[in-house]
Subunit: 595 residues, 2 copies
């Protein structure tokens, strides 16, 4: 496992820091960002990975994990920064040092002191960033011995995810996890600089012990010490950020922990993080420009520059052209309407389709399809179409399916190095309820403002009203969404009570607040986990979270959630309804009534 | 309500930012921090509070709240930045503008455009930062009208806290809350710069849905969808940060949300925030230097410079000299041992005291006491002593009581502008259990390492072992605490199983992790709410939190916690044990057994 020289990359472009004297070294004011001091306050003088020819002759103290040992002559020491070769002294006078370094098992933690020397000619390792030097050790200390590992660290990514999660603390030592979490920290820090230092946003923490939102079916409950009363863990700080606007904090942001109880979902987490933003006196364009600047500013330099502005597409156009509201615009293969070609066709099923109201015939042109797709591929596409028949998103899925097939043949359609951002706008404000299509529900949430051109339709044909909601899509994944909000109490009441038939009492505090001088406002939330997943090219969001839950919501390391003794439930006035017991209890109650 | 010119103060000393082009203006590389752009991306060109004579002649667009109106001629507009005077146009051609500005109720939100002009000679207001100018308005728009407020914003701080919390969004518009929360955001940002950009710390988010810790009696529970299984909301990321060290992230920090269910406590919150830090290869001195540098770097410049290093005192010395483990060292009045003076006394109760093993006579010298304290003060001190008799912290409390008395007489003992930091070290590792003094419990938590000089005592006289725990005290309040941790699995097992008699199975993941190459490590957590309370000189931590709970744990605005319909409890397999119903249910079960 060679660490590439990625630390400098990670910190490249960091801003200048003001003069400040550390207890050990003084920083001078510099117009360029510099690497942080990774060795301040502690025993080591350097990290393993930073040593180069420029350090020749320096006395260094290093701390790290034993990566491997070669014939009791060399030892490779590892820290988060990289690997360095240690020469194990062979002379009699250094017998105790030799003993320590030769006997400590792999992954033991040691501290060594010695001199940086050049490797003998011919023994340099050009593949290793520290490959020109090695450490001539004088003293060594075993800080902690390591028992035999269940697996070698370098093989961890090849193991099952369950095993990786069970030994997460070992998995975290892998290059991939180190890089992902360090990049995440850096990128969030850059976002903070942009929002807080450049644009005057205020980082405000909002509560996570809140009250169930109307219709918030996916909210975890937290029993309180008052019988029958529960807090809930909110899915987003939506109400709080709007109340902050009303409270005169006109530029709010928070890296907000959010909660969503969806049971088992493969690539969702019960707790997740969003970059949560709200502004007063802003319109849709303002929010979009802010986010474009934010991503450009915080984007890792080795992932290529972010070109502005991002293209924009209406919801209707996205559906018509890509068959989805989150199109992957890295490649073409758009859906095209070929109804006119077949207007006078004699092919029965096409005639059928075109004779229906708004009936159309649509096609995807697969470039190179004739060359790459074989009979069995065509067959699989046909089967896919049959399986998804009558789903309006069929063509969108078919497009991705064709892309998969072509890529299996070696055609590069979706360049993993390409980041294709897209705004999707003009969503409908309401959708028919799934279980009762004659009633309406919010397409996003009830605080979304209607499109200014469609306000009159609210009172006549609300189902036709477009909203001021916008989604940010990256390479076919939704990475953010937001809207201009309703700031008029009367309009908000009409939407909640008349159109959505919600119990307005539950939101009386918000309705009242809108009446007390609420400024016009809007905002957005970026899904940080998903974004980092795309930036790092990770297969799962669990690769960009330090301690994720399994897809069933378990912490496989500590085995949470766990049983709790009944006396711990008592202060909360709750008891468990055991699925089996509940039957017998019901019986006992029935008997009671009968007796 | 005049806003002082505090924004520049707040942002003074911010670091230089790299060249970056905003959609509206371009920032140039500068060696000095500059004010953020508060008006980027939105309709306004300036904030109300920033306008000065240097803006004369400029065309500006402002958005804000109507603070008050004078005789339909002047209107004072407010935003977070300050106040500015608007001249309401009186000529016929501007009738519509006049109508808007004269009819909008106070606290309505308006947008105005016009020219910055000098006030007529003699009409300048030197008390107002914008007092040399006013705005000659050309256009105005009512963005939102305000209903009659329950109270005037400027009077809010005088109202009951319950009322302030019920209308928190109005309370947030007050100068105090704006300043407190903006300062909090700034100070945390500076801490992040210090940790992340200067010293290479990695901001890592840890889960809040975790597993109950052994003895974690104050942890909120979160029912899962598996019958009888619960997550818990942890009191700190303690286990996770240690696991991160084992995972090779050798410099971790997080602004961590923590939870503690203590029922009703006047100045505690069920959720609170700590600056959570952990380092590998560090000793106590290293952590202390890091924290001293952190506070010096992030300290608001108008609160005076922070002098380093902070003084340090052992736990034993703190108790002996100040009668508490968190001494307020802003003033003297130390406790002194005067046993020798009375060695040959004939006063009975002193003889008595001195004849006991380790019996002592101690005194506090109250400077100016004879001058300031009257008979009834002495009487109240005597009564205080009687009420607290036999509490070992009596003398410490008496010292503060005397300070209170002297300050009531106008003597300044505890300068509110003085910030007196103190490390308290060498705490005992264990304390006798309150309910069973022959058993031991951890003085702090079971992961704290013993003092290196006392390790041998662990096996013979564990109650005498000092720990490597350290507390940071500011003006008599504990604002942080931490320790060097145990990194040896065997020692950790001995402490947990043999000394504390804990069920080690619950911590098997941590014990196992310590065996797989755990580096030596230590850390600290600063209580951010308490720290901000002291920095801002606020009477309550609720003044530095945007949406705090009442002292009974209620959100008075939304009335959380709240009742939940029984069908919402079903997926979590819990039911409420109603205090009254539980009796009748028990009866029904008894009847069942009898039938």
């Amino acid at each position: 496992m060679y660490f590439p020289s990625w630390m400098r990359q990670l910190y490249r472009g960091l801003s200048a820091q003001p003069a400040w004297a550390s207890p050990r070294r003084s920083l001078v004011l510099s117009p360029h960002r510099r690497l942080p001091e990774f060795s301040s306050f502690i025993a080591r003088t350097n990290t393993c990975g930073e040593l180069r020819s420029s350090h020749l002759g320096q006395e260094v103290t290093l701390c790290g994990w034993i990566q491997y040992r070669r014939q009791n002559i060399f030892l490779v020491l590892r820290d988060f920064h990289g690997l360095v070769q240690i020469v194990i002294p062979q002379d009699e006078s250094a017998a105790s040092v030799k003993k320590i370094l030769c006997e400590a098992p792999v992954e033991s933690v040691v501290q060594v002191s010695g001199t940086v020397v050049a490797r003998p000619p011919g023994q340099e390792n050009p593949k290793m960033p520290t490959g020109e030097i090695e450490i001539k050790v004088k003293t060594a200390e075993l800080l902690n011995s390591c028992k035999k590992l269940p697996f070698e660290i370098k093989d961890f990514v090849k193991k099952t995810e369950a095993l990786r999660l069970q030994y997460r603390y070992l998995d975290l030592r892998s290059f991939q996890m180190q890089r992902n979490l360090r990049l995440r920290s850096q990128m969030v820090m850059r976002m903070r600089e942009y929002l807080c230092n450049l644009h005057g946003f205020i980082d405000i923490e909002t509560p996570t012990l809140f009250k169930k939102t109307p219709g918030g079916a996916k909210e975890f409950l937290v029993p309180s010490r008052e019988p029958g009363k529960f807090y809930s863990l909110p899915q987003s700080p939506q109400q709080f950020k709007q109340l902050l606007m009303i409270g005169g904090f006109d530029r709010y942001f928070q890296v907000a922990r959010c909660y969503r109880d969806e049971g088992s979902r493969p690539d969702r987490q019960p707790e997740f993080t969003q970059i949560d933003i709200e502004m007063s006196f802003v319109d849709q364009t303002g929010i979009q420009q802010l986010i474009e600047g934010l991503l450009q500013y915080s984007w890792p330099s080795d992932r290529g520059a972010v070109a502005l502005p991002f293209p924009s597409m209406t919801f209707a156009e996205a559906l018509a052209t890509y068959g989805t509201d989150k199109p992957d615009t890295r490649f073409g293969m758009k859906i095209i309407d070929i109804s006119n070609v077949f207007r006078n066709t004699e092919i029965g099923f096409l005639q059928d389709a075109l004779s229906k109201p708004q009936g159309t015939v649509k096609a995807i042109c697969v470039p190179g399809g004739a060359k790459y797709l074989k009979r069995k591929d065509i067959e699989s596409i046909r089967k896919f179409a049959v399986d998804h028949f009558n789903q309006c998103s069929l063509l969108g899925k078919l497009r991705l399916e064709c892309a998969d097939l072509l890529e299996k043949k070696g055609v590069v359609l979706r360049d993993p190095a390409l980041f294709s951002f897209l705004w999707v706008v003009d969503f409908p404000l309401f959708l028919p309820k799934e279980d009762n299509p004659r009633e309406l529900e919010s397409a996003h949430h009830p605080f979304t403002a209607p499109h200014p051109s469609d306000i009159h339709l609210l009172y006549t044909e609300p189902e036709k009203v477009r909203s001021q909601h916008y989604d940010l899509v990256l390479n076919g994944s939704e990475i953010g969404g937001g809207s201009i909000r309703i700031h008029n109490a009367e309009l908000q009441h009409y939407v909640l009570a008349t159109l959505l038939k919600e119990d307005v009492k539950l939101l009386s505090h918000l309705l009242q607040a809108l009446d007390y001088g609420a400024p016009p406002h809007g905002g957005i939330a970026l899904g940080l986990d998903r974004l980092m997943c795309l930036v790092t090219g990770s297969p799962s969001i669990r690769d960009v979270i330090a301690f994720p839950k399994s897809f069933r919501g378990h912490d496989l390391m500590s085995s949470a959630p766990d049983c709790v003794p009944p006396e711990d439930l008592k202060p909360y006035h709750i008891q468990v309804s055991w699925p089996a017991d509940s039957e017998s209890e019901k019986n006992s109650l029935n008997l009671h009534q009968e007796s």
